[in-house]
Every structure is written in structure tokens, then in C-alpha cells.
């Protein structure tokens, strides 16, 4: 029965034994060839994860990464054909993967790799331009609720690992990794086709978090002022960096 065939083959691929599949083989001597399919499937998933988590791979080393990725694949095999976004939640797997205990910052590195990937593939939402703002009635500006463009990721990290992560995304990895035990706020986004990232002060992080949830510029700025920073400079920097979305303009202008 074909149903048994696919079921049996799936079992073979997931390492549950070849016994059920053998009766479907025309040549029993071909049983040893099933490794080809098993290896292809496992390797495909592992290499997809390696491509998605290059800094984790570099810091942990390829020989460490492969069994860690293999275990993730066994626990969470892909459910969809496009594999470039496979591996959501890999940071949690890294956090509970026993051999990675000696690298407590590795889940943070995985979160940053993931943020890069999601920013890279995020929808192309139009950004609010500085010229859009200069053309506005200044009195209506505080009422603007721009939101953030689709690629923007706001992360609060358990380790200050942004600089180390960035160095390990480059071809020439930093020898001397500086990773602090304190929390760090990081912004990851895509601007003109290129993923950017920055470690930002908590006040800027809070400001962007409020804009992201749909607050008006006026109220977000007021809070930031209370926090002791001048948000207008950060706002204009964010404007030129393409952080704010243009899609809600029509509601407010």
C-alpha cells in the first residue's frame, strides 16, 4: 500500500529504522543506499540553519554547530517548503542544549542572527521621508502615529553582545570577543536593501517601542523628555535611517 510506503519512508528519514520500508524495495541490496536520502534530509536542514545563524556557527564552530542543529531538526523538523526562514526559536534550543552551557551568551547571538534574517526578508513597507515631514503642518506633527517599517526589530538582550555579534557576521572575525553580563538594547532594521543594527540607549528603545505600538509622536516624545533625553534629534536620525512607516500618513495629515 502506498500510504505505508510514504509513512515507512518518512520513518526512515527521521531515523526510526528501515524495517517497514524494506518490503517496498525491489532490490534488498539497496537498503544500504537509504543513507543517501537520510543524509540529504538531515544535511539540508542543518545547512539551512547554518546559513540562517552564521554568527552562532562561527562562534561555536562548525563541528559544534552541526550536532546542535541536528538535534533542533529532530525536535522541530521543517513544516514548510521555503527553508530560508526555518529555525524560529533556535535561540531557545541553544539555551537548553546541554553542551552549549559553557557559552551562556550563545542564545543572545542566535537572537541577533534571527533578527538579521527577519529584517532581511521583511515586507517592503514604504518609509516616512524627511521631506514628508518638512512638508507637514508643524502643528499636526505631534499627532502623527507613523509606526515602524516592517523590518524593524527591537531586542532587549541578556548580554551586551551586539559588537561581538557584528564582528562575527563579518568575514574577519574578531579574535577578542567582548561580551558583557549586562542587558543591551539593540535595533535591527533594513534600510535601502541592507540590514543595519545599532546598540541604543534604553530611552531610544522605549521611544521606538511606543511608536511601534501606534502611539503619537507627541506623546512618545513627551515621555522621552521626561526620561532626560532630547528625542527630536533621535527622531530625525530615525527618519533619515528609514525607521518610521509612511503608511499611516493619510490618517493624520
Amino acid at each position: 500500500m502506498p500510504a505505508e510506503f510514504n509513512q515507512a519512508f518518512a520513518g526512515t528519514l527521521l531515523g526510526r529504522g528501515d524495517q517497514d520500508l524494506l518490503e517496498h524495495l525491489a532490490n534488498p541490496a539497496h537498503a544500504k543506499r537509504l543513507n543517501v536520502y537520510r543524509n540529504n534530509v538531515a544535511r539540508g536542514a542543518i545547512e539551512a540553519l547554518r546559513a540562517a545563524y552564521p554568527a552562532v556557527n562561527r562562534i561555536a564552530g562548525a563541528n559544534f554547530f552541526s550536532p546542535m542543529a541536528r538535534q533542533y531538526w529532530l525536535d522541530h523538523p521543517p513544516t514548510d517548503a521555503p527553508l530560508f526562514l526555518y529555525g524560529k526559536g533556535f535561540d531557545q534550543h541553544v539555551a537548553t542544549y546541554e553542551p552549549a552551557r559553557s557559552l551562556p551568551y550563545l542564545p543572545t547571538i542566535a537572537r541577533l542572527d534571527r533578527a538579521w534574517l527577519e529584517a532581511h526578508h521583511a515586507a517592503d513597507t514604504p518609509a516616512l521621508n524627511p521631506s514628508d515631514v518638512t512638508g507637514m503642518n508643524p502643528e499636526s506633527l505631534p499627532e502623527l502615529r507613523p509606526g515602524l517599517t516592517a523590518s524593524v526589530q527591537l531586542l532587549t538582550l541578556h548580554h551586551s553582545a551586539h559588537a561581538a555579534w557584528l564582528a562575527n557576521r563579518q568575514e574577519a572575525a574578531a579574535e577578542d570577543m567582548q561580551i558583557g553580563e549586562s542587558a543591551e538594547h539593540v535595533l535591527v532594521w533594513r534600510h535601502r536593501g541592507t540590514v543595519q543594527s545599532a546598540s541604543i540607549p534604553v530611552q531610544h528603545f522605549d521611544f521606538l517601542t511606543r511608536i511601534a505600538r501606534g502611539d503619537s509622536l507627541g506623546s512618545a516624545m513627551e515621555d522621552a523628555n521626561d526620561g532626560g533625553i532630547d528625542p527630536s534629534q533621535f527622531f530625525s536620525h530615525g527618519l533619515t535611517s528609514g525607521l518610521f512607516a509612511a503608511n499611516r500618513q493619510s490618517e493624520t495629515l
Binding site: 502506498p2 500510504a3 510506503f5 510514504n6 509513512q7 519512508f9 518518512a10 528519514l13 527521521l14 518490503e23 517496498h24 524495495l25 525491489a26 532490490n27 539497496h30 537498503a31 544500504k32 543506499r33 537509504l34 543513507n35 543517501v36 536520502y37 540529504n40 534530509v41 539540508g44 536542514a45 539551512a48 523538523p77 521543517p78 513544516t79 514548510d80 517548503a81 521555503p82 527553508l83 530560508f84 526562514l85 532581511h120 526578508h121 521583511a122 515586507a123 517592503d124 513597507t125 516592517a150 523590518s151 533594513r190 536593501g193 541592507t194
Partner: protein, 283 residues
Amino acid sequence: MTELPDSAGLALKPEHFRQALETPAEGMWFEVHPENYMAPGGPRLSWLDAFAEKFPISLHGVGMSLGGMDAPAPQHLDRWAQLIDRYKPAAISEHLAWTSHQGTHFNDLLPVPATRAALSRFVEHVNIMQDRLGRQVLIENPSIYVALKSEMSEVEFLRETVARTGCGLLLDVNNVHVSCHNLGLDAIAYLDAFPHHAIGEIHIAGHEEDTALGGELLIDTHSAPIVESVWSLLDYTLALTGPRPVLIERDTNIPTFETLLTDHVRAQGYIDAARVREAAHAS
């Protein structure tokens, strides 16, 4: 059969985007796996926009699982439809293979036993894909590593699929070489029996010997140069079919664009020779 030109094309890799977009090679067209472009947005999609402006594009799917138990996923068909709408491909294709089962995606082209039950299911799935996308799909013969209990040959299975769905075929000459070697079949006999009228596209690629079993088992890796015997099979095939679009596939261990262009020129030479032969026969 398709809107692809009867000339040689290349599998498009992100590593070559910049160079490939400026290539002056005559008759050039490019093929991509649509699964790699099923993203919400981002630069990869913009690159393909630029290519679609200048070159014919072929979408060659590896994830529809037409040979599986489950019907094609509506979500996956929707994403295909969006890509067709955006890039207006000259050809679309998929495989005689399955890639997923009960919600798990294996990301490999897994073999389908050539049985009557599997054929009915395959025909139904090809019809679903063609109906949803509103156009003909080319179906590719896979590389096979194990002989399965079957009720017909692979060529009969494909011939019957063409008759019952109106699909076209994508003949992968390297897969013929690899499968026939692995199963002890005659590649020339396979090519002779293949329904030539249905061939809308031809693939050639490199393969490697299995690291564990050696020369007994060839693996379709797309990671190595095309061997001479596959070039010969291409020449033989084009003599049977006349000029057809020929694609050079390379997915890993990717060489420079110039190296791929050397293969491109060689493949184009075989197509040109087929055109000359055809003209000589006609006159």
C-alpha cells in the same frame, strides 16, 4: 510549448546577481527555485524584478510534493501564484517526487513508486497545480538511488501523466545518467522511449560518487562539473528533440560566473548543432 527561447540558460545564484544581470550572452535566460523567493519582501525579490525585466525567467519548484500522499498545500499554491503574477515566468516546472508527508517537510526529492495508485494520485496533484496556476507545468524526471517495487517504468509513468494532465516534461539528462547508472538501466534506451514531443526544457548538471559506496552509487549533487558522458547524452537528446531550452544547474560548490558561462557556450553549441541538423532534414 513554453515561452522559453530554444537556447541555453543558467540557474541563477545570489552570488552572481551583479555579474549575471549585465551578461551580454545571447539567448540567456535564468531559472530559480520559487521557494527561495517566497519571502514577504527584501532585496532578493527586487533582484529578481531586475532580471525579469531583462531576461526570460523559469520558476523551477522543489517543494510542491506532487508525488506525495497529501494534495498540494493551498498556501503554497497561493505563493506560487503571487510569484507568477510578479515575475511573469516563461516556464514553470516541478518534479516527479515528494518532499513532505503529514506536515513534515523533508526538503529532498524523494522517490515515487511507479504504481497505478501512485500514478492516479500524481495525476490528480498535477491537475490541481495546473488548475490553480492556470497554465501548463513541466514535470522533471528525478535522480533515483533505490529501486522500488513498481508496476510500470518511470517513462511509462511520465507518459501517462502527460496524457492525463496535458502537462509538459522537463528532461534532466544528468538525472537519466545517474538513475540509469544506479539502477542498472540503459540511458540511451530511456531517452529513446521518452515522449520527446512533450519536452519543454532540458537540464544538465554535475554529480558525484557517493562518499560511502563509491562508484556503485552516483549522487545528483549539482556540485561538480558536468561529465563528458552527460554532455554526450545532451547531444543525443537534442538530436531526438531538435532545439530546446537547455539549463545548466549548479547549486553548491558554486564556481565563478565565467566558469558557468563556459558551460553555457558549450550547451549553446549543441543546441545550434541540433538546429542545423533539423534544417538539413527539412530541406
